[in-house]
Amino acid sequence: MERFHCAVTDIADGPLDPAAALDFVSDPGFGGIAMFVGRVRDLNHGRVVTGVSYDMFEPLALNGFRAIAEDIDTRFGPKVRLYVAHAKGRLGVGDLAVVVAAGTPHRDEAFRACRELIERVKHTSPIWKQEHYEDGDSVWSEGCSLCGSDDTDGAGEREHDHGDVHRDGAAR
């Protein structure tokens, strides 16, 4: 039975499904399930956000999700189940952008695997967020450069905010 679920879901095909994530990572041998859900916020750096468009290089993103899952499995496994689903398309405030979950026998590994999963997905996946503001402006967020990245970012505890440095006038 497949222990990793890696998917990209077009928002037009419906929202991401946290209940499906819980189901997928459940197992009679597992006592702990940790899940993270990322949602579109109404405010970023003080600006009122009306929505977010996600652009992605889908085949590479899916390859990356799987590589991350396999790597986490070698360290937290062999009994781990992992779920990653990322939305693409134009999302409104409150829509789910990403759902990750980890099921393991004990809760410490569940938390650590889940945290590492979302950090690596966010820092290494070829996914780009364009925020739309109530004044009609749109900005591409520019976060982690993949130059020189070895995809070995396994710290699991790091987080940095992706800065928004490029005002994209053409996208109004």
Binding site: L60, N63, L146, C147
Partner: protein
């Protein structure tokens, strides 16, 4: 040889089709593709920011490739600005 290059994120806004075909020398490395895109962008993109390209990586559908690596022949490529998923 010709390389098909897909544009993502902020690069998309420079080109509605989000796809270019660039010419690079036979046996080119990723660095040569980067140079070719830089030349093209300076000529064609009015709002081009060279610093964004400097922070961008190049990849095939399966892997990110470093500047020193050989450009795989006949493989579509993508230019990846700094990512911001999740």
């Amino acid at each position: 040889m010709k390389v098909e290059l897909s544009l993502f994120g902020a690069f998309r806004s420079h080109d509605p089709g989000a796809k270019l075909v660039l010419e690079v020398p036979e046996g080119a490395r990723v660095a040569d593709l980067r140079e070719a895109l830089d030349r093209y962008a300076r000529e064609h993109w009015s709002a081009y920011r060279p610093e964004l390209l400097k922070a961008s990586a190049f990849a095939s559908e399966t892997t990110v490739l470093r500047d020193a690596e050989a450009l795989p022949e006949g493989v579509p490529m993508a230019v990846l600005p700094p990512v911001s998923g999740g």
